[in-house]
């Protein structure tokens, strides 16, 4: 089964995390990935990635979603070459990467056109709708 992909340009403003996660959840549901708890976790991951891009990345980011054999990777490319790094949480933050690590499988960073791309592999989605099976 070939991969399903989605790409969206996301201009950065304070409404970007919400718009991005709503778009990604709709896309993933359309791919037959309909477990609500799993979609909720995917929404948090997208929200964290885009929020960090708004805060530290700058400009307009490129969001990609890819599903193959039931594995979904969400990635956000921004214009800053600085790599995110987990830090000790305090009152002004430090919980974004921790949340991604808690809810997803793994994350990696790649160079990308002068900036970087943060890629998060989501956990396997439970109970893939077999009738659709499209992302399976």
């Amino acid at each position: 089964m070939s991969a399903l992909t989605a790409h969206l340009d996301v201009p950065l403003h304070h409404g970007a995390p919400g718009a991005a996660r709503r778009a990604v959840v709709a896309v993933l549901s359309g791919w037959g990935l309909s477990d609500q708890d799993w979609l909720d976790a995917a929404a948090v991951v997208v929200s964290e990635l885009v929020t960090n891009a708004v805060r530290y990345g700058g400009g307009c980011v490129a969001l990609h979603v890819e599903a193959q054999d039931g594995r979904v990777v969400v990635s956000v490319a921004d214009g800053s070459p600085v790599r995110p790094r987990r830090r000790d949480p305090d009152d002004v933050g430090g919980r974004g990467i921790a949340l991604i690590e808690a809810l997803a499988e793994s994350w990696t960073v790649r160079h990308h056109e002068g900036g970087k791309q943060v890629r998060v592999a989501l956990r396997q989605c439970p109970g893939l709708a077999p009738a659709r099976g499209v992302a399976a």
Binding site: D37, A41, T51, L103
Partner: protein, 103 residues
Amino acid sequence: MRIVRDGVDGLVRMAFHGELDLATVDQVAAQVSAELAAPGLLRLVLDLAGLTFCDSTGIDALINAQIAARDRGVIFQVVRPRGIVRRTLVATGVLELLTTATG
């Protein structure tokens, strides 16, 4: 996000409805400081039962509300986080910290 406020005798309850994220955290910070600035407040409760989404930006706002309340000597408590909101509080290890009344 919509915040429904309910206040009586030094107790204020703010019920959150909708999604708490980068677009809405300022609203929480503003309304919490307004409450804390008013005289006579003894206890501030944030009711999350109607909140359907909260990411780390939202959690930071809740932690800041707790710190601000403590600094004013106001009892503070987050109650009724549900679903993914509860899961993010658990995953970041702050569920107990926020849902235990402080002051």
